[in-house]
Amino acid sequence: MSNLQITIGSQLVNLCSVLLLLTCFGIIAQRRLLACVDLFAIQSMFLAVMAALVAYLTDIHHIYVAAVLTIVIKVIILPRILKQVVRRLDVKRELALYVNIPTGLLICGALVILAFFITQPIVHLGFLLTRDSLAIALAIILIGFFIMVSRVKAITQVIGFLVMENGLFLGATAAAYGMPLIVELGIFFDVLVAGLIVGIYANQIQDTFSSVDTSHLKNLKE
């Protein structure tokens, strides 16, 4: 492959990761649950694209597998499940937030800066064309985490978690062209099961508490 291709490739990769980041901000800014789920699907899409890109550039084939899995699980299955849950519980929009949206955005900005600041000393380690996206990966993880903290509804917390997962995947791909295949598979499997279990719980909670507003789950305390 020519240098040109490499540079273009790495820029494309970076572009994808930036897009990922943007979708995160989108989720932060979004009140409507279904929209959040869609955004997550889109984000996963970008992720898959990036993975494929990396796979193409480095022709390491198992990354294709990863990309495919991403599409299957994170773009198709999980959003399905989530949407089902959302419909079934008909919680259209999230009105309750612990942190209002502008503040949230500001904080996320701060998190991104932090992420860059943290990864800055170790970025030079990687000699791969994707290394710059490590910072973005960390940023996405933090933001996902922040979503979980700042949102009240169970669903959004799940979405936050999945965003974290995306961040991780990005990290894995960025840092090392993905984990060894076996690990990769395992991780995907786990993510899938996690999603299922969360779905189960959401249903059961809905049955017993007749709401998935986790702010109701405060009976167990000191």
């Binding site: 380690l125 990687g126 060894p180 996690a194 719980y201 909670i205 167990l220």
Partner: protein, 495 residues
Amino acid sequence: MEIHWPLLLLILTPFLIGLSGLLSRNRGTLDALQCGQAGILVVSVILVAEEVLTSGPLSGLFYLHTDALSVWFSLILGIVGATGTLYAVGYVGEQLDRGAISFKRFQRFFILFDSYLAMMLLAVNVDNLGIMWIAIEGSTLLAALLIGFERNKGALEAGWKFVILSSVGIALALFGTILVYYASENVMGVSEEALRWGVLHQVADQLNPEAMKLAFLFALLGYGTKAGIAPMHTWLPDAHGEAPTPVSAMLSANMLTMAIYAILRFKILTDQAIGPLYTGNLLVGFGLFSVAISAIFLLTQQDFKRLFAYSSIEHMGIALVGFGLGGVIGVFGGLWHLLNHALAKSAAFYGAGLVLLRHEHKIVDQVPGLLHGIPLAGVTFLIAGLALAGMPLFGLFISEVAIATDAFTRHPFIAYGFLLVLTLAFVTLLYQILRMVLGTPVEQKVLKLGQRCRSFATVAIAVNLGALTCIGLYVPPGLSDLLGTILALFGIPGK
């Protein structure tokens, strides 16, 4: 790559037995299978230990790898797992007899329970950080299902919190793993081997310090969440309180221990890369904080299962301090503490389970005079409680003294703080335990315990407490050799 049957047995048995549970239609065979599993676990774990002691680390097929450290934790998981299985047969069986649950769910419980054990055993016996992570995540998910098993409000809430919090934790841990992988790259390039702990251990001193620092930080937070280290401990009391008692016992005695194991693996690598000071300070800091927090919460605790949960937080903290100090006796203390804690704490939970079955509530001041009420549980509480409080004659005392000593030889002030919080915890825990054990029972309606339940529980408790007192009084040579090799693994000349 030759096959080590004991090792394979150790890990596969629970899986297979669990699955075969699906096929067996009648209860007798199910019980029999479980008892068999308990037996096999104990035997095979001891065989594995033998083998490792005689002929160094084993590597089976499929990343299976067992060195001294793994053996130590396999011992804990195996033995406590065995007694746990027995107890579960009694406990869940009792619920079945009372018609609290259907036979189907009875089956399902054991499928989950066994594969949960299997996952944990796998986690401590693989060489690959990635696989280890997967196993731990798997155990988390199964634990989530087990915690919510009883499907009442409390159980669901606890399960939900557990699932969310520990998934977050686990995610952070994964990032830590990725970072290690990342750091290993520019030492050995992109390779399948780069996640093998053994391999990493050889090249660890060349790994990039910054990356390792970051990696360890994430690993500590991530696995620390599962180990119930304050301030990531918040799920723990709920989960321990609401889960079916055998599960609580497994959570406390096995899962926390396993999480500590994972942290240790990372610590060893990081220490080689950047020296022990960094990890040491972090561990000691978190450890002390955990002990202090738990001590305070023990004081006002009204629910005896949560009580034991907080005491688990305390003991994990103590062990962390030991490992953090990292001197010979410190690490020894940590390991020794984990073993004894597992035995004592599971026994305590077994006792708690009996009380719960009998009284159907968990309020401390509603169950005084257990010595008269339920002698079995009373005695268990007394012995286990004293052991957990760190009374002399029990291993926990020895390990606490060891850790204190190590602390003292390094930074006396840590030692003073340590002893202070320890005394506080001691007082609060013992105060609560004795409130329950002594005195005269209050009149209230109680349910009778089934014979089979009682007998199973008796066996489980007897084994645990027996082992506890034995190693309290006399350390088998095998164990001490094992400790020696582990210390060597920590880069400390074994004594």
